[in-house]
Chain length 242, copies 2
Amino acid sequence: MSYDLYYWPFIPGRGEYVRLVLEAVGATYRDVAREEGEGAGMEAMTAGLKGRYGPQIPFAPPYLVDGEIVLSQTPVIVAYLGEKHGLAPALEADRLFARAVAVTTADFAAEIHDTHHPVGTGLYYDDQKDEARRRAEGFRNERAPKFLGWYQALLQANPSGPSQLLGSEISYVDLGLYHTVEGLKYAFPKLMARISGDYPQVMALCERVAALPAIAQYLASDRRMAFNEDGLFRHYPELDEA
Amino acid sequence: MSYDLYYWPFIPGRGEYVRLVLEAVGATYRDVAREEGEGAGMEAMTAGLKGRYGPQIPFAPPYLVDGEIVLSQTPVIVAYLGEKHGLAPALEADRLFARAVAVTTADFAAEIHDTHHPVGTGLYYDDQKDEARRRAEGFRNERAPKFLGWYQALLQANPSGPSQLLGSEISYVDLGLYHTVEGLKYAFPKLMARISGDYPQVMALCERVAALPAIAQYLASDRRMAFNEDGLFRHYPELDEA
């Protein structure tokens, strides 16, 4: 059985959170909008947003087609895959809490995005640079530490130890944290150089994730795209610390 | 069995999405931060954010305690309640898609919030009025029609008819749409007076939700709080249409 993933072909973006879970569980999948030919490419992606797959019309990419099931919204997709393929916590209370962690990670990513697009996604960055500078300041001083401190608190509170956010094994929410921290290091290298040391268990977990054999293999492959200034995480030096 | 809901006591906010589902299914619940005395009030809410309930530490209110289970993030809580109490679509594909609808509604609510707080939640509205005016313009012209048009498309694509978003009965995602439209009418009365007619099936569904006996009874009770300018949906005339 194979999954069809639909996401913008030129950026890692939110699609990357889904790819990491697919890769970690060793799933067979097509990255449809990155393929060429009939039934592929951006056109195929857009068709799904117009109802090609019936009444389940995604609001936006990424979405994932699994036979008759159309999954959308990143935190819903990763929870579905993680729970289905054994990459979710074992206990019911942890599984349900993992879903909330995934939504919080999506919110964190949205706030990171909004540092460069505080006024609107419909405008260019150049048309909102002043507002971005103000928003990024609050993000660096308050929001980033609040989110990172929360993950650190979860790690410290885990009765199975601080090697993963929930339960006794790496799960899909750990992959999401890893990718977000990678994005932060790309977008805010000076900020992260200064504050990473405040979250030693978060950073250690991210290293563990990157070293998982399936993930390490993926990161070294050409399936992994580089961050760039069209994506969710963008490096604009003027938004980082001085 | 009774639920404990924790949310800011002075605003409907995101907690209202949870209350509507609790009320619709006739659940017994405490609205803990709105109560007084030992183990209640804001102090009790804050204790949960500091780990009082163990390793499941919510990032922010609302959160809901169900015995040993701590649920957080609005879309996760409403899906849990809806699926548990028969207020979710019957088919698996619809149930999974409903979770994505709930996340999208939470995103929509966050964008409505950001019209009055585009620079940062840590600042007062008065300190970001100019940015808010710009962001609200894009929201009114592009984002609000995009979201409302998407709900309308779901209603039109539902093989069971346009009386509910998914499946053949009202579900928790319909309650979320209802509350968001109520919030929009409060925050942007002029905009909504002009464009509501473009989404007749959305508006008809909202009227159906308000007329459900359990919801109508709740709306008439003193448990229902009025919208106000400390909440998610705020009426600032300068952000509405001229």
